[in-house]
């Protein structure tokens, strides 16, 4: 591992200035991903800029319009336990409760989670795959069990985050700052497929910092659910997951967002399935139809066809539970 310096930032502008001044500098939050990347030689920053020392970045609060504002260094554990989150954004708590392990959730931060790198075993292991400058994606013709079924271009890795699909289902955005400007980016355009020179899953520039995550207020009576298929009940990334937020008026669905995790380089929005449901009364038969549509356009590789079935099953089950719940 390359020797590095560790600097405590005192403010957001301090952190951004450090990032700009040090082209080989990287923000460190909980360090649960970054330190592993460094040990495996996948990242070798010269300066680690610690943002956990910046006051006020761990806030969880509502703004005047009732939107939830989450500070970037808020740990997953704190976010999941927050009373307001449990009340109005239960989907987030549910997603976090099946993320990693309690020890990791105590360290891992919200911004760190949405910025985590691929978990593809070729990438994390000692293989020269496309993402590490090699010629081709080794997963595509190889052990593709964990790879994506959607949108794979050069790299078939999936975005491994559980929080990201949940945030997306709530229509969240991130607020990003660099030395010049501050911008708000909806999560839908924040995530992108990994590239050789940018092995993360985001459009974040290297001199930029996430300063806020914003979750819009949900309509009254809107409910969410997060279901995750995994190889064991804890300490396991998603084979597939479904984050669903459903709003209804009377019996009719006024709005719905269905986001699939673990199946694509970005949290995958099942728009066609949403369209089937929107404006309708969700009967069992309709839910079956929605679920069947959820994986439209999937292109499984040699070993990951089961993800199509899993995703469908989770969507069906999630919707059934939501409909059932809101009745009671």
């Amino acid at each position: 591992m390359r020797p590095f310096e560790h600097v405590d930032a005192t403010s957001v502008s301090d952190a951004i200035a450090l990032l700009k001044a040090e082209p080989d500098g990287t923000i460190i939050a909980g360090g649960t991903d970054l330190l592993d990347l460094m040990k495996d030689g996948l990242a070798s920053p010269r300066v680690l800029i610690n943002v956990k020392t910046i006051d006020g970045l761990d806030r969880i609060e509502a703004d005047a319009a009732g939107h939830l504002i989450i500070g970037p260094i808020t740990t997953l554990a704190r976010l999941a336990e927050d009373a307001r989150v449990r009340q109005d954004f239960l989907l987030l708590s549910e997603a976090i409760s099946v993320t990693a392990s309690p020890q990791l959730r105590n360290m891992a931060t919200v911004a760190g989670n949405v910025c985590q790198r691929p978990r593809c075993w070729y990438y994390r292991g000692t293989f020269d795959c496309f993402l590490k400058g090699g010629n081709s994606c080794l997963a595509v013709g190889g052990r593709s069990r964990d790879s994506g079924i959607f949108g794979a271009a050069e790299c078939a890795a999936v975005n491994p985050s559980d929080l990201a699909p949940a945030l997306l289902a709530l229509g969240a955005s991130v607020v990003i700052e660099n030395a010049k400007r501050r911008r708000e980016v909806p999560l839908e355009s924040f995530f992108t497929a990994p590239q050789k020179d940018r092995p993360g899953f985001t459009v974040l520039g290297r001199d930029e910092m996430i300063v806020e995550v914003k979750v819009p207020k949900q309509p009254v009576g809107s409910r969410g659910i997060y279901l995750k298929a995994m190889e064991r009940k804890t300490w396991s990334f998603a084979q597939a997951s479904a984050a669903i937020q459903l709003s209804r008026a009377e019996a009719r669905v006024t709005d719905v967002r269905i986001i699939l995790g673990g199946v694509a380089p970005v949290p995958w929005r099942a728009s066609a399935a949403e369209d089937v449901l929107r404006g309708k009364v969700p009967t069992g038969e309709l839910i079956e139809r929605v679920a069947a549509t959820a994986t439209d356009g999937a292109h499984p590789l040699g070993q990951n066809g089961y993800k199509v079935k899993l995703a469908k099953a989770l969507v069906k089950r999630g919707l059934a539970m939501l409909v059932d719940n809101s009745r009671s």
Binding site: W121, E231, K233, Y306, K309, L310
Partner: protein, 766 residues
């Protein structure tokens, strides 16, 4: 019947307090003055010639105190099938094989030095699939290994890379198949399960100025380790002292000398300082051992009433780059024919094949487990074909005490039928199999197991023990047997306490130290309770006899009229005429100058007759029922409950038995459902506990374990082994339960959601 004071009781572990307070000393805790830290450089190639290893730059790094390469070793081939070097010399045969090692002031320096060693390799063609390796013309993993004749579909053909063949035929299977009412043939495959002991392999070596070596190692067998070390280091075993500290799990993975043992020793010899090497988790997965992946074909003939008449099994085992214990494991797998159910005609062909994969080796279940997965899965298939209840067909064919099996085993005690009856009753088998909710299922499977080993490295399986009376009436027990977490120190203390008539608390045990304790073969073959237990019992009886001899004078009685119980020596029938052990000890030592030192030795009765596998009795037996629930939409299997009954002869410590059964169920469940070391051209894809999944406490089912006590005539207080056998039926019980739940039969471990979903959605046509 005389009641027992120390055995048959739920005695807490003698090392329990240290273990739960963090006070126990493990190898990684050993810290010596001037100690260095060692790291090993490993091959990135699955198969290559090593042309040149240049360590000059590494040697010049500040803080590097010694560097070794293959050239610095004697280059000797070790192992029971000697084909492996501790450090590669001119060839590497798997990714992870040791090629050099460094000792430095700290780990970081050692790590940096490793990166400065340049190795020139000439990559060679490699082969990763055993059936491809067997093809004539496949790359040879071991150059010069001649092809041999094997039988395939009745025809003989030549095969490459076969390191060992085991074939036998008892009776006439062909004729029996022809005469059987029903014959079926199925193929099963098993995966590479890794031991995943939470404590990794490691060693601390210290050569003194006189050339004597002390080595602390996380090992299952200190005495055999001393032999391998002495041989590869070209020194005398008597100049080596191995100390086994507490061991955090081994499961068969710590039976052999590892590069950590050898390199720590050689680096220490070179640097004249102690050297510690502890493996990383990644090294655990790539450079130790794993359970042999096997392809097993089983053909069985039955009569309409379910009577088994013939069974034929063919196994191809992926041995990886070296033999390790593989050939023996293969023999034990074959030995499962006719061992549990009466089958008069049996035939076996087993092939142990070299590939350029990491090395396969011993793992709890030792080949018997893979064979049993195949046979027990097929028993259910046969039962269904014939319309017989799976428990009934097993009962019908179950071997019984007094029989000699077709494989030549003398069954001295056998509670198999009782085990089956017990789990059938305790699981509510008869009612619940019919009344369970949809997608819930029950599955049964059985096992037998050995309680001692066959000859190992030419040695008959034996143990010895000393018992020394202290002048305060307490006792020190010296045994070579290695407690690797299974609790043998406690069991052996209980046996000594019972035989001597003192409480367990009066006994201190010194175990698994090659200089202080008598010789022992090590922990494997579920042999400690039976073999070492017998030795301890004899040693304690000898000490008691010596004590009675002298104490009799003091009590004015004849030695043969004395009895010892609960810490007192007294005249039989008059408990008042007696002495406490403390008084007795003072008397014999102070007044008479006599030192009470009992000795005992025990050797398993090797029967070198025509048995297909000469492992002497006794044999343990067991039966288990698994209850599962399958989610047919996600393919996930939840193991709800396990009911287990094991004939262990006599449960010296019922709590120890339960612990072994619970551990077995969880480990077996991992093997059945998730665990699988995945390779891509010989490189491990999932070398971490995140990516290689083992079950957690959240998956662990409720386990109801009970002991069936058949009191084996040759066992200490009737005891036999139980530990490993308990894992054998787990995977087939789960596979059978899944079939019962959803009608899907998976013959290929692990039974993942992918496979279940695929099978469920398969159209009847394909």
């Amino acid at each position: 019947m005389k009641s027992h004071s120390s055995i048959g009781r739920r005695v807490p572990r003698v090392d329990g307090l240290q273990l739960v307070t963090g006070g126990a000393l493990y190898t990684a805790d050993v810290a010596l003055p001037r100690m260095l830290h060692g790291r090993i450089l490993r091959s990135p190639h699955a198969h290559a010639r090593v042309l040149c290893v240049d360590a000059e730059r590494a040697k010049r790094v500040r803080g590097v105190m010694a560097v070794i390469t293959g050239k610095d070793t004697a280059g000797r081939l070790f192992g029971i099938f000697p084909d492996e070097r501790a450090v590669a010399v001119d060839r590497v045969r798997y990714i992870g094989e040791a090629v050099a090692a460094v000792a430095a002031l700290d780990d970081d320096i050692a790590e940096e030095a490793l990166s400065l060693i340049s190795v020139e390799y000439e990559p060679l063609p490699a082969v990763f699939d055993p059936s491809e390796a067997m093809r004539l013309g496949a790359p040879l993993v071991h150059e010069g290994l001649a092809p041999i004749h094997i039988k395939e579909g009745g025809e003989s053909k030549l095969a490459s890379n076969v390191s060992f063949v085991n074939e036998f035929h008892v009776g006439d299977v062909e004729r029996a198949f022809a005469e059987a009412d029903h014959v079926r043939e199925d193929t099963f495959t098993t995966s590479a399960q890794c031991h995943c002991a939470l404590e990794p392999h490691g060693a601390v070596a210290d050569f003194d100025a006189g050339g004597k070596l002390t080595l602390w190692s996380s090992t299952q067998g200190p005495f055999l380790l001393a032999r391998d070390l002495a041989f590869t280091l070209d020194m005398s075993p008597s100049d080596i002292r191995i100390i086994k500290p507490r061991v955090g799990g081994a499961f068969g993975g710590k039976r052999e000398m590892m590069a950590s043992d050898f390199c720590a020793a050689l680096l220490s010899r070179r640097a004249h300082r102690p050297v510690k090497i502890i493996y990383t988790r990644e090294e655990e997965f790539m450079a130790t051992r794993a359970r042999h992946p096997m392809t097993l074909q089983v053909k069985t003939g039955v009569r309409r009433d379910g009577t088994l008449v013939a069974q034929e099994m063919t196994i191809i085992a992926d041995g990886g780059a070296y033999s390790s214990r593989g050939p023996v494991i293969l023999k034990y797998a074959g030995g499962q024919l006719g061992s549990l159910y009466r089958v008069p005609n049996i035939k076996f062909a087993g092939y142990h094949v070299y590939t350029n994969n990491p090395v396969s080796g011993s793992f709890r279940g030792f080949g018997m487990l893979q064979a049993r997965f195949a046979i027990e899965s097929q028993m259910d298939l046969l039962a269904e074909d014939l319309g017989i209840d799976p428990a009934e067909i097993r009962l019908k064919n179950a071997v019984r005490a007094g029989e000699v099996t077709s494989g030549g085993r003398r069954v001295t005690s056998c509670g198999l039928s009782e085990c089956i009856e017990k789990v059938v009753e305790a699981s509510g088998w008869r009612d619940r199999r019919v009344n369970l909710p949809p997608n819930h299922g029950l599955g049964i499977a059985c096992n037998d197991y050995v309680s001692s080993g066959a000859r190992s490295q030419g040695f008959i399986d034996s143990s010895a023990a000393y018992v020394r009376l202290q002048d305060d009436g307490t006792v020190v027990l010296f045994v070579g047997a290695a407690d690797i977490g299974q609790g043998s120190d406690t069991t052996l203390c209980q046996i000594a306490a019972e035989e001597l008539g003192v409480p367990v608390a009066s006994i201190r045990i010194v175990s698994a130290d090659t200089e202080l304790a008598p010789r022992d073969m090590g922990t494997y073959a579920s042999r400690i309770t039976f073999v070492a237990g017998n030795a301890v019992k004899l040693a304690a009886a000898d000490a008691r006899r010596q004590l009675f001899q002298v104490a009799a004078d003091c009590l004015e009685a004849r030695p043969e009229d004395l009895e010892a119980r609960d810490g007192r020596v007294f005249v039989k029938g008059s408990p008042d005429r007696g002495l406490s052990f403390q008084e007795a000890a003072v008397y014999v030592m102070k007044e008479r100058g006599v030192h009470v030192q009992g000795r005992g030795g025990f050797a398993a009765k090797v029967e070198d007759g025509d048995a297909v596998l000469s492992v002497p009795p006794p044999y343990s037996f067991g039966a288990q029922v698994a209850e599962v629930e399958v989610d047919t939409e996600t393919g996930q299997v939840k193991v709800r409950r396990f009911v287990a009954a094991h004939d262990c002869g006599f449960a010296i410590n019922p709590m120890g038995l339960e612990g072994q059964v619970e551990g077995s169920v969880v480990c077996g469940m991992g093997h059945a459902l998730v665990e699988n070391r995945l390779l891509d051209e010989g490189r491990v894809l999932n070398p971490s506990l995140l990516d290689y999944k083992i079950p957690t406490s959240l998956e662990a089912p409720y386990v109801a374990a009970s002991a069936i006590e058949t009191k084996d005539p040759e066992g200490p207080f009737g005891a036999k082994g139980v530990s490993e056998g308990a894992q054998v039926p787990v995977a087939p019980a789960i596979a059978n339960a899944i079939y019962d739940a959803i009608g899907v039969r998976i013959n290929d471990l692990p039974i993942t959601p992918e496979k279940i979903l695929k099978a469920l959605h398969r159209s009847p046509k394909d």
